[in-house]
């Protein structure tokens, strides 16, 4: 059985990225009901991710230089500028999202839901503008109705480009989007046949986008107006009809409930619970808020079997560290490189199937890097971080030696100030590690710097975060 503070710890790990020291102190005696209500209240006040016009000054410089150039050079420069602009937009957006997850006064429940949906409706894009629209599609629908979200995703420009619906023409259908819609987004294998895919794809013909403007466009002339037979029903279906017919199947609700359960509760599915959750999702019209509310208020969510057994994803790990140490990144590229080295770059999941999660986050090198990460970020420890394996890159394999983040230790030190060492250590363990970790860990004291007690306490917290248990939530 978990104690009430342990339950809260678990809730905030799973619904967010842990709590900042101040919020932990403020909330650790809240009731679960109070905390859950607050989650939804905070999430409903979240605003969409913004643009990154602060880079405009740099671009203006580059534009000025361009005036003096030959036409050929100007064209090359413009291409370079566009590429650079897109890269800055996307790394800036990535950083902004992670900083929100890490915000010291927020739980960032909506941002956590967005991360879940990003892995579900997985899209790769290198275009900053489209990434922002896509992120905000996730933002808008993260706690809404799954049916609305699926329709919004089907009209999202980044998705349309990623799964080739742009090439889905009346005279030459492209089945890519429709196949993944059923296989990965709503039903899973075995619930449809190849004819359903072919006919479904015809219904999505003409669902295209203007990529530069980032707008969905319905190209009526390119839409197949003929009769289609989908799941045995014949009619002049369009994409929306297809999504409705898919979600009429209770199996779709089961599929989503299973995915939610495996992300938020336990990677090992409990079939009976998933069946109940799926039925609830189906009956309530695919209301995600209602589903999450049920999970977080249930007794079983806090059963020890569901606690401290989940390997944090790289983004969760980074966000949690930033939150604890009030950290931030000045350079968005550094954050992206850190994500790449750990295996999870936002807006670039490995495929449309998203991240596999679980043990697949870990290999011998990545485990070492994860354990060293707190010291790399907050003590400027030497790292050996490879630059992302870019197939377009030339052959020299570059590494970076430093990946430093800003740190503000004050809130953490305030939390434990005035306590004897043993007591401080115990408080930090309770705050930082899953509740199964009950050792006093006095041996850690031998690995602290001499001198200034504040520096020692910070080093102690960093070392607790360097234990394998910290990898778990």
């Amino acid at each position: 059985m978990l104690t009430p503070p342990q339950k809260l710890h678990h809730l905030y790990q799973r619904a967010g990225f842990g709590l900042s020291p101040r919020e932990w102190k403020r909330r650790q005696h809240w009731t679960i009901d109070q905390a859950v209500e607050d989650l939804f209240r905070e999430a409903s006040n979240s605003i969409p991710l913004g643009g990154y016009e602060d880079h405009e000054a740099e671009f203006a410089d580059m534009r000025d230089q361009r005036r003096e150039m030959s036409r050929q050079d100007r064209r090359t420069q413009k291409k370079k500028l566009d590429r650079e602009k897109s890269r800055l937009l996307i790394t800036g957006l990535n950083r902004d999202w992670v900083h929100r997850m890490a915000a010291s006064d927020q739980v960032a429940f909506r941002e956590k839901m967005m991360l879940f949906w990003h892995g579900h409706f997985a899209v790769q894009t290198l275009f900053g503008g489209l990434a922002r629209i896509y992120a905000n599609t996730l933002h808008r629908h993260a706690l809404g109705r799954f049916s609305d979200m699926t329709l919004a995703i089907a009209t999202d420009p980044a998705m349309i480009l990623f799964l080739n619906n742009q090439q889905n023409h009346k005279d030459k259908p492209n089945e890519n989007f429709t196949r993944e819609l059923m296989e990965l987004f709503t039903l899973g294998r075995g619930q449809y046949n190849e004819q359903d895919i072919r006919e479904g794809a015809r219904a999505f013909t003409g669902w295209a986008c203007r990529s530069l403007q980032g707008e969905f466009i319905y190209r009526e002339a390119d839409h197949d107006e003929g009769e289609k037979t989908f799941f045995g029903k014949t009619g002049n279906w369009n994409g929306q009809n297809i999504i409705e017919m898919i979600l009429e199947k209770p199996e779709a609700a089961q599929f989503i409930a299973r995915k939610v359960y495996r992300f938020f509760v336990n990677d090992t599915p409990d079939e009976a619970r998933i069946r109940e959750l799926g039925q609830q999702l189906y009956t309530n019209g695919y209301d995600i808020t209602d589903l999450m509310d049920t999970i977080f208020r249930s007794e079983w969510f806090y059963h020890p079997i569901n606690v401290g057994n989940r390997i944090k994803s790289p983004v969760e790990l980074i966000a949690g560290l930033l939150k604890t140490f009030h950290g931030s990144f000045d350079d968005p590229t550094a954050l992206s490189m850190g994500q790449a080295a750990l295996g999870q770059v936002l807006f670039f999941p490995p495929s449309v199937a998203g991240w596999s999660g679980g043990k697949s986050w870990i290999d011998n090198q990545r485990l070492l890097l994860r354990l060293q990460l707190p010291m790399i970020l907050f003590e400027a420890a030497e790292a050996d971080i490879p630059l992302p394996g870019d197939p377009e890159a030339v052959d020299n394999i570059a590494t970076i030696r430093k990946l430093k983040a800003n740190v503000d230790p004050e809130p953490l030190l305030t939390m434990i100030s005035g306590q004897p060492l043993d007591e401080s250590r115990a408080m930090l363990i309770q705050y930082l590690l899953p509740c199964q970790a009950t050792e006093p860990l006095a041996w850690l004291d031998h690995y602290l710097p001499h001198g200034d007690p504040a520096r020692q306490m910070l080093a102690l917290a960093i070392r607790i975060c360097s234990l394998p248990e910290y990898q778990l939530s």
């Binding site: 199937a353 870990i362 485990l367 052959d395 199964q436 360097s466 394998p468 778990l472």
Partner: protein
Amino acid sequence: MLRRDFIRLSSLATASISVPGFLHQGQQLFARKDNGKRIIIIQLTGGNDGLNTIIPYADDQYFNARGRLAIHQKDALRGNDLLGFHPALNGLRSFYDQGWLTVINSVGYPEPNLSHFRSMDIWNTGSSSRDYWNTGWLGRYLDNHPGTPHEAVQVDQSLSLALKGGSRQGFALRNPASLKRAARSPFLDAVTSHHQQHDEEMATYLYQTLASTQESAAWLVEKSRHQTATASYPASQLGRDLKVIAELITADTGTSVFYASQTGYDTHVNQSGRQDRLLRQYDEAVSSLVQDLKQHDLLRDTLILTFSEFGRRVNANGSGGTDHGTANALWMITDGHLQTPGFFNPPADLNRLVDGNLIHQVDFRSVYASVIQDWLDTDPSTILLADVPSLPLFQMS
């Protein structure tokens, strides 16, 4: 394992690190199993232009399609009347002369995917282009073969999907010494030795991974300490990586699968100079490796397989380069076990294209099936999760 080594290992393991007993994953940890055969996979990342690597210089269609990019018979290194080698591939050509090389043309898979990432995943997992698998073909081999944590070594900073199994994984290192430095810091040694048994399965898994990384790192450094490569290797990254592989092989560390890669092959613009430079680096590095293995009489027991995620569009583009394509040449090097040294199959058919791309003649999973069956001595269906016909590539007796 020699008794002397065992004693040294035990003292090594106990003197500097006290790994709690429950973190050991069985005592055959460092025992040598296997049939003494090894494979080395070299991945050319970015999509190497196979048509300009193994060159169909007797085909007019090749010159029509490639224009200025085409490599003429007088410049290519001669193989036979139909096919020759890129001028930078002197080493490969000499293996061809010795009968140590088999080239397979037009290797690919149905419904080819032209994204680097997706196509590499397909090659690495061994799935069809419609399936998304989250384990690699070599990872599934590991799942089926209990062995050392360093049974499969990738010389890299992180692990390819190819080497990720469901329950076991390959072992990534840039070189044993740098891995040991990172894994055996005083702090991490203390983390392992102070660990108390957990009920939590995941925590135990993490501690086991850490402990076995520390043990393997120490063991690999210890075993390979006295190995110095007999061949001189080029200073390129691939040269350094293959040198590490040769040292681990000659040190007999109980590793049967090795993985290395070379990147930069995405030649959309100004392909000629770039591909020339990359293939030259490849050829120099692989020549050193082959010479090294040959001198240790280990080439007979080692298969070196080189592949890329796709080939390139048959027609050159307007920027002196080529765009993403489909089927590609793949080649294997070993001494003595090749059933068809030289060219396994006819050149690519440049008159039958789909969207300007080659149609594959050989499914890559058939190549895997042959390698799994003959070199890893394992039933391919347990690893490829389907009945994939193998090819008459090897004679193992």
